[in-house]
Amino acid sequence: MSQHSAAESGVNIDVKFFASLREQVGVAELQINATNLAALLKELKTHLSDVGFDHLLSPNIRLAVNQNLVEGDWREAALVFAAGDEVAFLPPVTGG
Protein backbone atom coordinates (compact mmCIF):
# COMPACT_ATOMS: atom_id res chain seq x y z
CA MET A 1 0.00 0.00 0.00
CA SER A 2 2.84 2.46 0.55
CA GLN A 3 3.33 4.64 -2.52
CA HIS A 4 6.39 6.68 -3.49
CA SER A 5 5.89 10.28 -2.59
CA ALA A 6 5.62 12.79 -5.46
CA ALA A 7 9.23 13.82 -4.95
CA GLU A 8 10.48 10.24 -4.97
CA SER A 9 8.65 9.46 -8.21
CA GLY A 10 10.50 12.32 -9.96
CA VAL A 11 13.16 11.60 -12.57
CA ASN A 12 16.87 12.11 -12.34
CA ILE A 13 18.19 14.94 -14.47
CA ASP A 14 21.70 16.32 -14.97
CA VAL A 15 22.06 19.94 -13.99
CA LYS A 16 25.10 21.86 -15.22
CA PHE A 17 26.53 25.25 -14.35
CA PHE A 18 29.09 27.07 -16.50
CA ALA A 19 31.79 29.69 -16.20
CA SER A 20 31.09 32.51 -13.72
CA LEU A 21 27.91 30.78 -12.61
CA ARG A 22 29.80 27.57 -11.87
CA GLU A 23 32.10 29.55 -9.61
CA GLN A 24 29.19 31.36 -7.96
CA VAL A 25 27.22 28.19 -7.16
CA GLY A 26 30.43 26.32 -6.32
CA VAL A 27 29.65 23.20 -8.36
CA ALA A 28 29.81 22.22 -12.03
CA GLU A 29 27.18 19.50 -12.09
CA LEU A 30 24.43 18.05 -9.90
CA GLN A 31 22.11 15.10 -10.23
CA ILE A 32 18.64 16.30 -9.27
CA ASN A 33 15.38 14.43 -8.97
CA ALA A 34 12.63 16.62 -10.44
CA THR A 35 9.89 16.33 -13.06
CA ASN A 36 9.39 20.01 -13.75
CA LEU A 37 10.97 23.42 -13.39
CA ALA A 38 9.30 24.29 -10.11
CA ALA A 39 10.49 21.03 -8.54
CA LEU A 40 13.98 21.58 -9.95
CA LEU A 41 14.26 25.05 -8.48
CA LYS A 42 12.95 23.81 -5.14
CA GLU A 43 15.60 21.08 -5.07
CA LEU A 44 18.37 23.45 -6.18
CA LYS A 45 17.45 25.81 -3.35
CA THR A 46 18.22 23.04 -0.88
CA HIS A 47 21.50 22.04 -2.61
CA LEU A 48 22.98 25.51 -3.16
CA SER A 49 23.84 28.40 -0.89
CA ASP A 50 21.30 31.24 -0.82
CA VAL A 51 23.76 33.48 -2.67
CA GLY A 52 24.51 30.79 -5.23
CA PHE A 53 20.82 30.11 -5.83
CA ASP A 54 20.08 33.80 -6.28
CA HIS A 55 22.63 33.92 -9.08
CA LEU A 56 20.67 31.29 -11.03
CA LEU A 57 17.67 33.59 -11.12
CA SER A 58 19.49 36.73 -12.20
CA PRO A 59 17.96 38.14 -15.40
CA ASN A 60 20.88 37.46 -17.74
CA ILE A 61 21.06 33.72 -16.98
CA ARG A 62 19.71 31.51 -19.76
CA LEU A 63 18.56 27.91 -19.54
CA ALA A 64 19.23 25.10 -21.99
CA VAL A 65 17.42 21.77 -21.93
CA ASN A 66 19.23 19.00 -23.77
CA GLN A 67 21.46 21.64 -25.31
CA ASN A 68 18.59 23.68 -26.71
CA LEU A 69 18.10 27.18 -25.38
CA VAL A 70 14.71 27.77 -23.81
CA GLU A 71 13.14 30.59 -25.81
CA GLY A 72 11.78 33.62 -23.99
CA ASP A 73 11.94 33.79 -20.19
CA TRP A 74 12.62 30.26 -18.97
CA ARG A 75 11.34 31.22 -15.53
CA GLU A 76 7.87 31.40 -17.09
CA ALA A 77 8.25 28.24 -19.19
CA ALA A 78 6.20 25.10 -18.46
CA LEU A 79 9.18 22.77 -18.48
CA VAL A 80 8.64 19.07 -17.83
CA PHE A 81 11.63 16.77 -17.58
CA ALA A 82 12.27 13.18 -18.61
CA ALA A 83 14.85 10.85 -17.10
CA GLY A 84 18.38 11.76 -18.20
CA ASP A 85 17.50 15.26 -19.39
CA GLU A 86 20.41 17.68 -19.31
CA VAL A 87 19.54 21.09 -17.92
CA ALA A 88 22.20 23.81 -18.11
CA PHE A 89 22.35 27.26 -16.57
CA LEU A 90 24.33 29.59 -18.84
CA PRO A 91 25.76 33.02 -18.04
CA PRO A 92 26.08 35.47 -20.98
CA VAL A 93 28.42 34.06 -23.62
CA THR A 94 31.65 35.81 -24.55
CA GLY A 95 33.27 33.87 -27.38
CA GLY A 96 34.96 34.91 -30.56
Binding site: A19, V93, T94, G96
Partner: protein, 157 residues
Protein backbone atom coordinates in the same frame (compact mmCIF):
# COMPACT_ATOMS: atom_id res chain seq x y z
CA UNK B 1 28.13 24.04 -49.32
CA UNK B 2 31.04 22.85 -47.24
CA UNK B 3 30.86 23.55 -43.53
CA UNK B 4 33.57 22.71 -41.06
CA UNK B 5 33.57 23.39 -37.35
CA UNK B 6 36.48 22.58 -35.08
CA UNK B 7 36.62 23.19 -31.36
CA UNK B 8 39.97 22.24 -29.96
CA UNK B 9 42.62 23.00 -27.39
CA UNK B 10 45.56 22.93 -29.77
CA UNK B 11 46.57 25.77 -32.06
CA UNK B 12 45.57 25.68 -35.73
CA UNK B 13 47.18 26.43 -39.07
CA UNK B 14 45.32 29.10 -41.06
CA UNK B 15 47.42 28.10 -44.05
CA UNK B 16 46.39 24.43 -43.93
CA UNK B 17 42.71 25.40 -43.84
CA UNK B 18 43.12 27.96 -46.63
CA UNK B 19 45.02 25.49 -48.78
CA UNK B 20 42.45 22.73 -48.25
CA UNK B 21 39.57 25.08 -49.11
CA UNK B 22 41.22 26.18 -52.36
CA UNK B 23 42.04 22.59 -53.25
CA UNK B 24 38.50 21.36 -52.67
CA UNK B 25 36.58 24.14 -54.43
CA UNK B 26 39.15 25.34 -56.97
CA UNK B 27 38.10 27.83 -59.56
CA UNK B 28 34.50 28.19 -58.32
CA UNK B 29 35.97 30.41 -55.63
CA UNK B 30 36.49 34.06 -56.50
CA UNK B 31 36.94 35.36 -52.97
CA UNK B 32 38.08 34.11 -49.58
CA UNK B 33 37.59 36.32 -46.55
CA UNK B 34 39.25 35.31 -43.30
CA UNK B 35 39.31 36.58 -39.80
CA UNK B 36 41.63 35.55 -36.99
CA UNK B 37 41.16 36.66 -33.39
CA UNK B 38 44.31 36.71 -31.28
CA UNK B 39 45.04 37.12 -27.59
CA UNK B 40 46.02 40.70 -26.81
CA UNK B 41 48.13 41.61 -23.83
CA UNK B 42 45.69 44.30 -22.66
CA UNK B 43 43.16 43.51 -20.04
CA UNK B 44 39.50 43.72 -21.01
CA UNK B 45 38.14 42.86 -17.57
CA UNK B 46 37.07 46.01 -15.77
CA UNK B 47 39.69 47.89 -17.77
CA UNK B 48 41.99 47.62 -14.80
CA UNK B 49 45.03 47.88 -17.01
CA UNK B 50 46.63 44.71 -15.72
CA UNK B 51 48.63 42.87 -18.35
CA UNK B 52 46.92 39.73 -19.55
CA UNK B 53 49.05 36.73 -18.84
CA UNK B 54 46.67 34.06 -20.03
CA UNK B 55 43.17 33.74 -21.42
CA UNK B 56 41.00 30.70 -20.79
CA UNK B 57 38.05 29.73 -22.94
CA UNK B 58 35.37 27.45 -21.52
CA UNK B 59 32.67 25.81 -23.64
CA UNK B 60 29.72 23.46 -23.36
CA UNK B 61 30.72 20.40 -25.38
CA UNK B 62 27.99 19.49 -27.83
CA UNK B 63 25.92 22.62 -27.41
CA UNK B 64 28.77 24.87 -28.52
CA UNK B 65 29.16 22.97 -31.80
CA UNK B 66 25.39 23.18 -32.31
CA UNK B 67 25.37 26.92 -31.71
CA UNK B 68 28.09 27.43 -34.33
CA UNK B 69 26.31 25.10 -36.74
CA UNK B 70 23.23 27.32 -36.48
CA UNK B 71 25.28 30.43 -37.17
CA UNK B 72 26.77 28.87 -40.31
CA UNK B 73 23.32 27.71 -41.46
CA UNK B 74 22.00 31.24 -41.09
CA UNK B 75 24.99 32.65 -42.99
CA UNK B 76 24.44 30.21 -45.85
CA UNK B 77 20.76 30.97 -46.03
CA UNK B 78 21.64 34.62 -46.40
CA UNK B 79 24.57 34.69 -48.83
CA UNK B 80 25.70 32.41 -51.66
CA UNK B 81 28.65 30.85 -49.86
CA UNK B 82 30.79 28.04 -51.21
CA UNK B 83 32.52 27.01 -47.99
CA UNK B 84 32.71 28.09 -44.37
CA UNK B 85 35.24 26.95 -41.80
CA UNK B 86 35.30 27.91 -38.14
CA UNK B 87 38.00 26.93 -35.65
CA UNK B 88 37.56 28.04 -32.06
CA UNK B 89 40.05 27.14 -29.42
CA UNK B 90 39.22 26.33 -25.80
CA UNK B 91 41.48 26.04 -22.79
CA UNK B 92 44.29 28.38 -21.83
CA UNK B 93 46.18 30.63 -24.25
CA UNK B 94 48.98 33.18 -23.96
CA UNK B 95 49.15 36.65 -25.57
CA UNK B 96 49.62 36.64 -29.35
CA UNK B 97 48.19 33.13 -29.70
CA UNK B 98 45.35 32.48 -32.12
CA UNK B 99 41.88 32.08 -30.56
CA UNK B 100 39.45 31.85 -33.44
CA UNK B 101 39.41 31.57 -37.22
CA UNK B 102 36.51 32.24 -39.57
CA UNK B 103 37.15 31.56 -43.25
CA UNK B 104 34.46 32.03 -45.89
CA UNK B 105 34.72 31.31 -49.60
CA UNK B 106 32.30 32.61 -52.22
CA UNK B 107 32.20 33.42 -55.91
CA UNK B 108 32.18 37.14 -55.08
CA UNK B 109 33.78 39.35 -52.48
CA UNK B 110 30.64 40.90 -51.01
CA UNK B 111 29.24 37.57 -49.90
CA UNK B 112 32.61 36.40 -48.56
CA UNK B 113 33.15 39.56 -46.51
CA UNK B 114 29.57 39.77 -45.25
CA UNK B 115 29.50 36.07 -44.40
CA UNK B 116 32.76 36.22 -42.43
CA UNK B 117 31.69 39.33 -40.56
CA UNK B 118 28.26 37.91 -39.77
CA UNK B 119 29.74 34.67 -38.45
CA UNK B 120 32.22 36.57 -36.25
CA UNK B 121 29.52 38.86 -34.87
CA UNK B 122 27.37 35.86 -34.01
CA UNK B 123 30.29 33.94 -32.51
CA UNK B 124 30.57 36.81 -30.03
CA UNK B 125 26.92 36.87 -29.06
CA UNK B 126 25.46 33.42 -29.75
CA UNK B 127 28.19 30.80 -29.69
CA UNK B 128 28.44 29.10 -26.34
CA UNK B 129 31.86 30.12 -24.99
CA UNK B 130 33.02 31.98 -21.94
CA UNK B 131 36.26 33.89 -21.60
CA UNK B 132 38.26 34.22 -18.43
CA UNK B 133 41.27 36.52 -18.27
CA UNK B 134 44.17 35.94 -15.92
CA UNK B 135 46.28 39.04 -15.36
CA UNK B 136 48.90 40.03 -12.85
CA UNK B 137 46.07 41.64 -10.88
CA UNK B 138 43.95 38.49 -10.63
CA UNK B 139 41.42 36.71 -12.80
CA UNK B 140 37.97 37.54 -14.07
CA UNK B 141 35.26 36.54 -16.50
CA UNK B 142 34.97 38.79 -19.52
CA UNK B 143 31.58 40.48 -19.61
CA UNK B 144 29.61 40.51 -22.82
CA UNK B 145 29.58 44.05 -24.17
CA UNK B 146 26.70 46.09 -25.43
CA UNK B 147 28.80 46.98 -28.46
CA UNK B 148 28.88 43.30 -29.42
CA UNK B 149 25.13 42.99 -29.03
CA UNK B 150 24.53 46.09 -31.14
CA UNK B 151 26.93 44.79 -33.79
CA UNK B 152 25.09 41.49 -33.97
CA UNK B 153 21.73 43.28 -34.09
CA UNK B 154 22.61 45.04 -37.34
CA UNK B 155 22.10 41.69 -39.12
CA UNK B 156 18.47 41.46 -37.96
CA UNK B 157 16.11 41.89 -40.85
Amino acid sequence: MGQQIQIQQQDFSVDAIYTAMRLEYGSDIGAIASFVGLVRDRNAVAGDGGDVQTLTLEHYPGMTEKSIQQILDHAEARWPLIATHVVHRVGTMAPSEQIVLVMVASAHRDAAFAGAQYVMDCLKTEAVFWKNEQSDLGQGWVESTNADKIRAKRWDD
